[in-house]
Symmetry: C2
């Protein structure tokens, strides 16, 4: 319809995307995963190398520092993270659990920052990690306060199951989002991973659009969600406030 897009950039993103699973890949492996000709990968990797987008690791390749450099300049991250940082520290200190900061990207959630607690059990989430919005606490918190077309898109794509208890029923999701919208807090019970529960609350811009969300997560046995709710909600409101103040 709208295409034809730029094929070279498509191919390049295919190559970079191949590093989703493994951190270091050879030319042949890249060619196999991307479906590109080996010579194409070879040549392309060469120029990406010159730009620091890729780096050599022996004879194989790795994502390069230039990507990190560019990634640190992304505005969506910068403002929100800066505003949230002190409150995330407070929240971790108060709850002694893991604190997450995330934004919505299309129908996915991307984690901007994670404050872990040495005392708390390690969780599998990673900074820069991506999960379907409907399967996470922060995702549901943001969806509940997003325009209808965002939810439509989520439903259109289908509620992919990522854990045993992921919500896959559209009616169930819509119902939950209604109560989330009323309470300002979303709970998650092992929907993104086994044993993990969390309470999340949205961060709003001055114009009431969604900027992101924070959450407190822990293991289902050890964490009493109801006790976390007010703290998460309070922190989210505080971040929203400082976000508005600095405009």
């Amino acid at each position: 319809m709208t295409e034809p897009p730029n094929a070279v950039i498509d191919r390049m993103m295919l190559i970079l995307g191949a590093f989703d699973t493994d951190r270091v890949l050879s030319v042949s492996e890249l060619a196999r995963r991307t479906g590109l000709a080996k010579s194409t990968v070879h040549r392309m990797a060469g120029t990406l190398l010159e730009h620091g987008v890729l780096e050599r690791s022996g004879v194989r390749f790795t994502l390069g520092l230039r990507l990190f450099e560019l990634g640190e300049r992304v505005p969506r991250k910068l403002g929100l993270r800066e505003a949230a940082l002190p409150y995330m520290a407070d929240l971790r200190a108060a709850t002694r659990q893991t604190v997450h900061l995330a934004v919505l990207d299309g129908t996915d959630v991307v984690y901007l920052e994670i404050f872990r607690n040495p005392e708390a059990p390690p969780l599998p989430s990673r900074t820069g990690g991506r999960l379907p919005a409907h399967a996470t606490g922060v995702g549901k918190a943001m969806l509940a306060f997003s325009p209808q077309r965002v939810l439509d898109e989520v439903l259109r794509r289908g509620l992919r199951r990522v854990a045993e208890r992921t919500i896959t029923d559209p009616a169930m999701l819509t119902r939950q989002l209604r109560t989330v919208r009323a309470n300002g807090v979303a709970n998650e019970y092992e929907e993104s991973g086994a044993g993990i529960v969390c309470a999340a609350s949205p961060i709003l811009n001055i114009d009431q659009t969604v900027a992101g969300a924070i959450s407190v997560s822990g293991l289902s046995g050890r964490l009493d969600l109801r006790r976390m709710t007010p703290a998460v909600r309070t922190a989210a409101l505080a971040i929203s406030r400082t976000l508005g103040a600095r405009t």
Copy 2:
């Protein structure tokens, strides 16, 4: 000599690089800064948009979340940062100053992580920021322990002045690096910015190659470098040790 490289990727990196100074740019501004035709920028920005490498901000453009996502997967960052984090926290607590973690990228230094102290004065350094190695404490610490050809390349490119007291004399730099190599610590006196001093120490891999460097920085009046030296050195050695242990 070795080229011809891929022109499309070159142009794309030109566009992304244009966001060095400003965070949000229009098609016309991009065309002007990159020297590309407006139609080329327009089309290219469109496909970058589809990949999330760029995002819209009204009618203008911004670096996109996908870059952040990819940047967080860069191996050079991942391992070192993880190993260094706890020691950086200790160092900040012990010195009540700003702690930096950096790696060497060509002849530049790139900051991987910065631990600021609310009590300490804010410094201009930024995560993902880039500075010439010869102009910074962490840079000198790493150069002193790098193979000769790295220093050769630094000298070949010329010692660019970034602050009033930046070292621009090759002989002076070489002399300093010799004592750095002997002491395991590099000092910086307002060479990267006015009023800023720092003590830095290199982090080495098991094979004695340079992995990165950490530093303690502060304002020249308030910070006694000599008192910082042992702490920085100790932390750097500790990080080197845990880095080696996890191989």
